[in-house]
Amino acid sequence: MSVIDPQAEFERIVLPHLDAAYNLARWLAGNDHDAEDITQDACVRALRFVGGFRGGNGRSWLLTIVRNTAFTWLKKNRPQAIVSIDDDALAEIEDKVESTAAVRSADTEVLRAALADLPLEFREALVLRELEGLSYKEIAEVTEVPVGTVMSRLARARRQLQEHLNRKGQA
């Protein structure tokens, strides 16, 4: 009987997750200006579709919209950023185990650079997992791939991050 008020729905469902939305956009776009444009664009879409939101996880729902908006934007403006990765390649076992010292001693800026250096799909999987705390199932929904792919992307992302930090540690 009540009239759906999209603004009020948006305020309840979307607005609490604005930081998470911006964080994902910022890691995908790589700079503040583009991240702000992408997040704003995603909010416009979210406001348009919020009437059709049928409960569930508001954050995953918004992050999916942000992710799609970001990829559309990247395809148009920075096609070289999207390099398709081979999801079938399994993360191979490390032949030697590096000490964890490289990670422990890495400061924020070194970690930031290492994360920014990862391929787009690896970076987003790690950001969603480690910074946003999403479950494998939620990451699979947001990035529209099977859970198995999420697992392999996370494994490979961590391995590349480790290699990057080890290189830094030796340099």
């Binding site: 911006y22 406001l47 508001g58 076992i93 185990v97 990670v103 924020t108 970690l111 994360l115």
Partner: protein, 247 residues
């Protein structure tokens, strides 16, 4: 299982995403394998490094303003919608007397609905406006006196850190047309607002749990006070806090 078989499972194991049976298999393997144990340690140290460092970006104020403008820009339209709604309602056959009786009824369903919607929106606003607390303290003896003189009642303020619900502060809020105390608790990463206000003498005691827009709400009446507990935490754990408040 050997290292090659275990390796693909280690990430899911460290992330807590592995089922019990396979978790046990991984644990059994780890107890005999220093290589895989070192790999797990690496993943855990990476996890804590990523969590501890300030790698997350927060939405800048300029963006928040733009988005607020976007949804606030059509307040006029919302008012019009409200009027349309009222006219429809009247057209549906409700008389002016019915409206008056509805307003006079002390605890009608629609009033409750409105109050709970308001409680959820106060909770959400408190999380996003960086105005979660007026007084930030885990010390109940600091929070309780802070309310003195600001409210026409003295809320009972308790810390439940031992039970997993540390008190982190309090603030004044406005709910259902009156000033209320808002106590802020934390449980893991979830923030919980507990709105407290005195209820009318002789009104029936409430104890109910409901869910709105993905938030759980529990209302409890304890010694003349209403405790309205709101969070994105699940109903069961939120119920534990409600039980503690009721003791």
């Amino acid at each position: 299982m050997n290292c090659t078989e275990i390796y693909p499972l280690i990430h899911a194991f460290v992330d807590g995403e592995l089922d019990l049976v396979r978790s046990l298999e991984v644990e059994r393997h780890l107890s005999n394998c220093t290589g895989c144990t070192a790999r797990c340690d690496f993943m855990r140290s990476l996890h804590s490094a990523l969590q501890n460092s300030e790698l997350s970006y927060s939405a800048p104020d300029s963006l928040l303003k733009k988005v607020q403008h976007m949804i606030g820009g059509s307040v006029q339209e919302r008012r019009r919608n409200d009027w349309q709604w009222i006219w429809k309602w009247l057209a549906a056959g409700a008389t002016a007397i019915a409206v008056v009786t509805l307003l006079l009824r002390p605890a009608s369903v629609s009033q409750h609905d409105q109050l709970m919607a308001e409680a959820v929106s106060n909770h959400v606003r408190s999380l996003m406006q960086a105005h979660l607390m007026d007084v930030a303290s885990s010390d109940q003896h600091t929070v309780k006196p802070w309310f003195d003189g600001k409210l026409d009642f003295a809320p009972d303020v308790k810390d439940f850190v031992a039970q997993g619900f540390p008190l982190i502060g309090g603030r004044l809020d406005y709910l259902g047309g009156r000033a209320v105390a808002a106590l802020v608790y934390r449980h893991d990463k979830h923030l919980i607002n507990v709105f407290v206000w005195p209820i009318a003498r002789g009104s029936a005691a409430t104890s109910q749990t409901e869910s709105r827009q993905g938030y759980s709400i529990i209302n409890r009446d304890v010694s003349g006070m209403r405790y309205c507990v709101v969070s994105d935490l699940n109903e069961k754990e939120l119920g534990d806090l409600a039980d503690l408040l009721g003791k």
